[in-house]
């Protein structure tokens, strides 16, 4: 495998959640979430009961992948920031450390300027957290819950 497996531990999850929770408040955002580049939702905060975060996560990753593809054709490294303006809702998408995607959904109670400012600070913090997480995952002996599963466990999952 070329990519190390994405693993989330409690310690780092709590750190990430703290950053995301704060970003909702500081940026006056409706929803903030973090997705990995494969579309897996990592953390979310704000008014998440009223949005389908799983679908948004997959579409965001698709969007970033498509934009990344365009960047490559133009010999750009990456388009790290995207902004979509709607009538009521706006979406700000930021690539963090070329690894995860930070999405902020906001309305007229906030502004693009404020969101950009707060996203910048949050990105720096998130980058550090994900760097240390990645190191931890790559350490030898990092245990996986799947090392001990048996063939029976897998079979049982498929017994209707």
């Amino acid at each position: 495998m070329i990519n190390p497996q994405m693993v989330m531990y409690e310690e780092e999850f709590n750190q990430i959640q703290t950053v995301v929770d704060r970003l909702v408040r500081d940026a006056n955002a409706k929803v903030v979430f973090i997705v990995d580049k494969n579309g897996q939702l990592i953390a979310a905060s704000g008014d998440i009961d009223n949005v389908d975060t799983t679908s948004l996560a997959s579409l965001t990753a698709g969007n970033i992948a498509a934009t990344g593809g365009m960047a490559k054709l133009l010999k750009e490294n990456e388009f790290a920031t995207q902004f979509h303006e709607g009538e009521k809702a706006n979406i700000h998408i930021q690539l963090v450390g070329n690894r995860v995607i930070l999405v902020v959904i906001f309305d007229s109670r906030s502004s693009l300027g404020l969101v950009r400012l707060r996203v910048k600070k949050a990105s720096e913090e998130l980058n550090l957290i994900f760097e240390s997480l990645l190191k931890k995952v790559q350490e030898p002996g990092a245990d996986s819950p799947f090392a001990e599963i048996t063939d029976d466990d897998i079979d049982n999952l498929f017994n209707d």
Partner: protein, 195 residues
């Protein structure tokens, strides 16, 4: 690349349905969507053209149940099958944990099947994956049509390494869940091996 979340006690894996245009990838997902309990599935998203050809991808999140206290979730994707959407196909393969190749059994689609499986191999290789090492199953779809090649012929062309393969009629659901279960099982077995 699966994602293990210790905090949420979840394991997330990505499966991709690959194959030539109109072979029935989206139909597989639609059938799975229709036949799954509401609590085990999320919304199905189809990014398609006005004529319902897949433009970018279809997406369907599924929960399969728990293993040792970990919820297993599978994200199902299809690629656009039409030849000229190759750039999109490459993107969707990123981070894939398992592949289902859906072949169109009709004799006149023989070339298209071969071209697509070759394209799959090339696109995976570009990202450092090898089809021979990835959890991978083949589905021979449209078995109900009159002008189909025999399974032996299809197997000879598309499955020389004898991986799990299934006959299917995705429209009515024949073989759809068998195919999905087989690849999901291979993905989990792979995780066990690497764990």
């Amino acid at each position: 690349m699966s994602f293990i979340n210790y905090m949420a006690r979840e394991i997330n894996c990505k499966l991709v349905y690959y194959g030539p245009g109109l072979c029935g990838k989206t139909t597989n997902l639609q059938y799975i969507y229709e036949r799954t309990n509401p609590e085990a599935k999320g919304k199905m998203i189809s990014l398609a053209t006005e004529t319902e050809r897949t433009l970018f991808f279809d997406f369907l999140p599924l929960s399969l149940g728990e293993i040792r206290g970990f919820k297993t979730r599978f994200h199902l994707y299809t690629v656009p099958g039409q030849v000229f959407y190759d750039a999109s196909r490459k993107l969707i393969l990123k981070g894939v944990d398992g592949v289902i190749f859906v072949a169109d059994s009709q004799i006149e689609r023989t070339e298209a099947n071969l071209e697509s499986v070759e394209n799959l191999r090339t696109n995976l290789a570009e990202q450092g994956y090898s089809l021979d090492k990835l959890p991978y199953v083949v589905q021979y779809n449209k078995r109900d049509l009159p002008n189909v090649a025999s399974v032996e012929e299809l197997r000879g062309m598309l499955n020389p390494t004898n991986i799990p393969d299934f006959e299917a009629v995705a429209r009515t659901g024949v073989g759809v869940f068998d195919t999905l279960k087989a690849v999901a099982k291979l993905v989990l077995t792979e995780l066990k091996k690497n764990g």
